[in-house]
């Protein structure tokens, strides 16, 4: 019986070692161990880190070929459906929103609306399911929201931090709404 147990023990160790190897390989392939990072500033770099990290945007949105999420609209150029990156697409959508609401909209206003009140405009074929990113569990701060918007602007568009902090049109109300919710 002792010999049989030894064989079984060795067999178990071999299987667990294979399991460890798979875990190690997958971790190495997907970028290694990632601990929490302090992200500061309102700029596209910080926004990119939030988009692919704390903000969890990438669990639903891809950007072109980057990422694998298909649940929500791709924010880059992808297939026949998305011919413009979000930085340029936002300007087109702003015109559409202006017609729909009769209020003045700029590209920044549209991007702020996407984050501040995502149910106001849902892209056809997708579900109205975007969470409130400035409330738990994601809980982005106002600066983090602004950083993400600057990152989205950088996707084919022109980054304008001043316009994000002081949006000219409807975005002002949305920014105030986010600020009030974050400080509550």
């Amino acid at each position: 019986m002792g010999k049989a147990l030894l064989k079984v023990f060795v067999f178990m160790i071999v299987l667990v070692t294979i399991f460890l190897w798979v875990g190690h390989t997958i971790t190495a392939m997907t970028g290694g161990e990632r601990k929490s990072q302090a992200i500061v500033g309102i700029n596209p770099e910080a926004g990119e880190a939030i988009f692919w990290g704390k903000g969890r945007c990438s669990t639903c949105h891809s950007i072109g070929d980057k990422g694998s999420a298909v649940r929500c609209p791709n924010l880059g150029v992808f297939g026949e459906k998305f011919t413009l990156p979000i930085g340029l697409r936002a300007a087109e959508r702003a015109k559409e929103r202006e017609q729909q609401t009769g209020k003045p909209y700029t590209a920044v206003d549209y991007l702020l609306e996407c984050v501040g009140n995502p149910s106001a405009y849902v892209v056809e074929g997708y579900k109205n399911e975007m969470p409130t990113v400035y409330a738990p569990p994601i809980s982005l701060t106002l600066d983090e929201v602004k950083a993400v918007i600057s990152y989205l602007q950088s996707q084919g568009g022109e980054v304008n931090i001043e316009a994000i902090s002081n949006p000219p049109g409807e975005g002002k109300n949305l920014l105030n709404r986010i600020a009030a919710a974050v400080s509550a």
Partner: protein, 512 residues
């Protein structure tokens, strides 16, 4: 307001607790002799064990889906409010099914160790029999486990879309690929054990020809299940694929429609293996028409149950308003196509029952397995891609329609089988002990893999809270608030599995 908790339970909780009460009450009929008392004690142990598990579950499910908490995160409810959190029952169902499979495979491993070390034919025969029964229990728990997992996952998503998306498409998507490897291995190895076991069943050689086809189906399905959507590639490899992280063909296999189709196919194939194994030594059968009224009554009841299961969802899909899924009105056609498919399945149920009662049970089984296999794997597998493109939110309903048809198939075909081979002539006694040593290592793999899988799933379930002690209520603000890598997970889970299995072995042999 009543004092109990029954009126506040959701339908799933009521059904779950009703099953436990019915088992408790039904078991009283066993109390006729010493063996009956022994069995009833087993039932009591399992019921109390489940209740203890549910109590412990309530703590962890509260941490995932807190209830009785106000918007500012203050607890304003009672202990009952906390207990009745949304994920309490789904977690209990998933764990109970998992524990059945786990228990079966643990007992199977014990039998395998004893078989490998056996000195006499009697010992080998005894532990072969024990391995056979244990594997039977393990597979019985394993077959419905993906349904319980899907239901739990769906409830996680319903409770928090952020948590749900993070589970399948975020931090844990690669952990789920590892889980697919482990669960796929469980199905593959348990099938291997069944096929090995056919060597000791006189008459089972009639069914050997099916094995190569089943093996091909399971291996191909397993490979598809493991295929990730975007491949982790080097810059050079990306360049060779035209600058895309997505392989031109394989990318489709990484999407949910393909994965759902093959998971259903694996379950159906394992079930078919199991049917062949069960009927291995069955010879001449007694026609169903000569078995009195019982088959007519039972098949009618089971048929109605299956018709309700599939039919109610068909009716629901026909009446589903696209607005409910934020889709334009013209997308209703997609719902009706799937509804029609479910009605075809209902027609197959009726025809299968009629054929069985006309002594054509084998044809009935093949017909219903064939229709279900075509619907859930081929048709909905391909149609899922169309829906994904045109009406993505409807994809979840496709998965439900696949599962309802598959469950109905498992229930009806098993019932037909029980009457088909009731009191059938035996083609010879089982040759207990005539099993290869390799098959015993298969039992060991099942035990080790399910132990690793339980640890891995625990990592996912707990990790879903990300940097929250209590999700959305109490944040972990420490420097440790990050999700460990899959490698760290395998180190922790692997160590825990070794400690558990070695300690279990020492306990069973009375060394500690």
């Amino acid at each position: 307001m009543g004092m109990g908790i029954g009126h506040r339970l959701h339908g799933d909780g009521r059904a779950f607790i009703t099953v436990m009460i019915l088992t408790l009450g039904g078991g009283l009929f066993l109390l006729k002799d010493r063996k009956g008392v022994h069995l009833y004690m087993g039932i009591l142990l399992n019921i109390f064990g489940t209740l203890i598990m549910m109590l412990a579950n309530s703590w962890v499910s509260f941490m995932m889906s807190p209830s009785g908490v106000d918007q500012k995160g203050a607890f304003i409810g009672t202990a009952i409010d906390a207990l009745l959190n949304p994920l309490w029952i789904p977690l209990a169902m998933h764990r109970m099914m998992g524990n059945i499979a786990f228990g079966g495979f643990i007992a199977g491993a014990y039998a395998a160790v004893k078989f490998i070390g056996a000195k006499t034919d009697e010992e080998r025969a005894h532990y072969d029999w024990m391995g056979y029964i244990s594997n039977f229990v393990g597979i019985a728990g394993l077959l419905p486990l993906p349904f319980a997992g899907y239901y739990f996952g769906r409830e996680v998503y319903s409770n928090s879309a952020v948590m749900g998306n993070n589970m399948m498409g975020g931090d844990f998507s690669w952990t789920f690929i590892m889980q697919a490897m482990l669960v796929g291995s469980l199905f593959l190895i348990s099938n291997y054990y069944l096929w090995s076991g056919m060597g000791r069943i006189p008459g089972a050689e009639r069914y050997r020809g099916y094995i190569k086809f089943l093996l091909a189906i399971i291996v191909i399905s397993f490979a598809i299940w493991l295929t990730p959507h975007n491949l982790p590639l080097t810059g050079e490899e990306v360049g060779q694929m035209g600058g895309s992280q997505y392989h031109p063909t394989l990318k489709y296999l990484g999407l949910m429609p393909a994965k759902n189709a093959v998971v259903n196919f694996i379950i159906l194939s394992t079930f078919f293996s199991f049917l062949l194994y069960k009927r291995g030594n069955k010879g001449k059968t007694i026609p169903v028409s000569q078995q009195g009224r019982t088959p007519k009554i039972v098949l009618s009841i089971i048929g109605l149950l299956c018709l309700w299961l599939v039919g109610q969802y068909a009716v629901y899909l026909y009446g589903l308003d696209p607005k409910e899924l934020d889709l334009p009105p013209d997308r209703a056609g997609y719902f009706r196509t799937v509804g029609t498919l479910l009605f075809i399945n209902c027609a197959a149920i009726i025809i299968a029952i009629a054929l069985t009662l006309k002594d054509k049970g084998i044809i009935a089984q093949y017909l219903y397995i064939g229709v279900t296999g075509f619907n859930v794997t081929l048709f909905l597998g391909v149609y899922g891609f169309v829906v994904m493109e045109k009406a993505s939110p409807f994809l979840r309903n496709i998965a439900v329609s696949q599962f309802t048809q598959l469950i109905s198939c498992l229930i009806l075909v098993t019932t037909i089988d029980s009457f088909l081979f009731k009191n059938a002539e035996s083609m010879g006694e089982m040759k207990w002990g005539k099993m290869s040593i390799r098959s015993q290592y298969a039992l060991l793999v099942l035990c080790i893999v399910i132990t690793l899988n339980m640890g891995l799933m625990g990592f996912i379930r707990s990790g879903l809270r990300t940097d929250w002690h209590i999700y959305g209520v109490l944040k972990d603000a420490s420097e440790w608030a990050y999700t460990p890598s899959n490698y760290t997970m395998t180190q922790m889970v692997g160590s825990a599995a070794i400690v558990f299995l070695v300690t279990g072995d020492l306990l069973l042999r009375g060394r500690i």
